[in-house]
Symmetry: C2
Subunit: 197 residues, 2 copies
């Protein structure tokens, strides 16, 4: 774990940049993230980060990739082995919670016209996709997993963004949790009603 010695070379500037960027994102929001600020926080000249990141986008992508991993952990922690729709709702709550706790990071992860060729990023999102797949298989063993995974991820992801953007009230965490639970329930009972009708 290379400490920042008072030497010419930093040691691990790349990692330092990512975590500095991460911090600035949390503190000041996405638009305020400048390479100069990142460099300053890393204790290095303004142009040094360019030795490790092709451009600003590459740095943001690296931070986003870290975000995907954290999101995955956060979800896993919400429920170790989900099996029922209620368990699924708890995971949905965790997803939205993550978005609201780290709004700028979440936006960096999803709301930027990012380079789809970014490897680290692609791998991290593939991991999330796989997680959702497993989740769906466990909760709805009879269903067609591909389509239902898309549905579940979309539903949860949409909930996150609508809360983030103020389209759904996001002041009280308990209220949010309640809304998500009833949203998931409503979606499922609606389907049942259609099948009956």
């Amino acid at each position: 774990m290379s400490r920042a010695k008072s030497t010419y070379h930093h040691g691990d500037l790349r990692a330092a940049c990512v975590s500095a960027a991460r911090e600035l994102l949390e503190e000041d929001g996405g638009a305020a993230l400048s390479l100069r600020a990142v460099a300053k926080r890393a204790g290095v000249s303004a142009t040094a980060p360019y030795r490790h990141f092709a451009d600003r986008d590459a740095l943001v992508s690296a931070v986003a990739a870290e975000g995907y991993r954290e999101l995955a952990e956060h979800l896993a922690r919400a429920h170790p082995s989900p099996e029922t729709p209620d368990d699924l709702a708890e995971i949905a709550i965790a997803y939205v919670h993550f978005a609201l706790e780290h709004p700028a990071l979440f936006r960096a992860m999803f709301a930027e016209p990012c380079d789809p060729a970014h490897e680290e990023r692609a791998a991290a999102t593939a991991a999330i996709r796989a997680y959702v797949h497993g989740l769906v298989r466990a909760v709805f063993p009879e269903a067609e997993p591909e389509a239902l995974s898309t549905a579940v991820w979309s539903l949860v992801h949409g909930l996150a963004f609508l809360h983030l953007d103020g389209k759904l009230d996001a002041t009280d965490p308990e209220e949010i949790a309640g809304r998500i639970r009833s949203t998931v329930r409503a979606m499922l009972t609606a389907g049942a009603a259609v099948e009956r009708g």
Copy 2:
């Protein structure tokens, strides 16, 4: 309809700015939208827009508000009087289609930490909310409309963003349409299956 005469005063600079901004958004993407470019396209000095917009954000919000209205029209045009889940799927397809046709606009509408106090914007999103409400009432007359509206909007919105961001393949429109149809179907049959089990 004030034409841009060669006079000192423009006539309707506010509208000209909004449409110039709209054009630049479509052409070059969101990040490239600068007030200077807008002013130039409107044939006016760089700081003139500030007479009509407090800051860049206010201009973007105005464009976003226009976007909400267009989205609403686009959805209404997709199906005049939806009554079945299949009709709903067609509207979902239209929603995603709009996002993919106008990515930068859609991001401006949803993916910016916007000022929630912006009146025009709030009104426009309230209109969309009402539209979804009516849609849900028509398609699922037995359901609790509040929760199910949230569910439907979230599902569709999530689909739009996951396609926009490359998390779901968005190359072939027909394939997208097919995926959305089976996604909606999967979501509903999953609920039915749970009720049975």
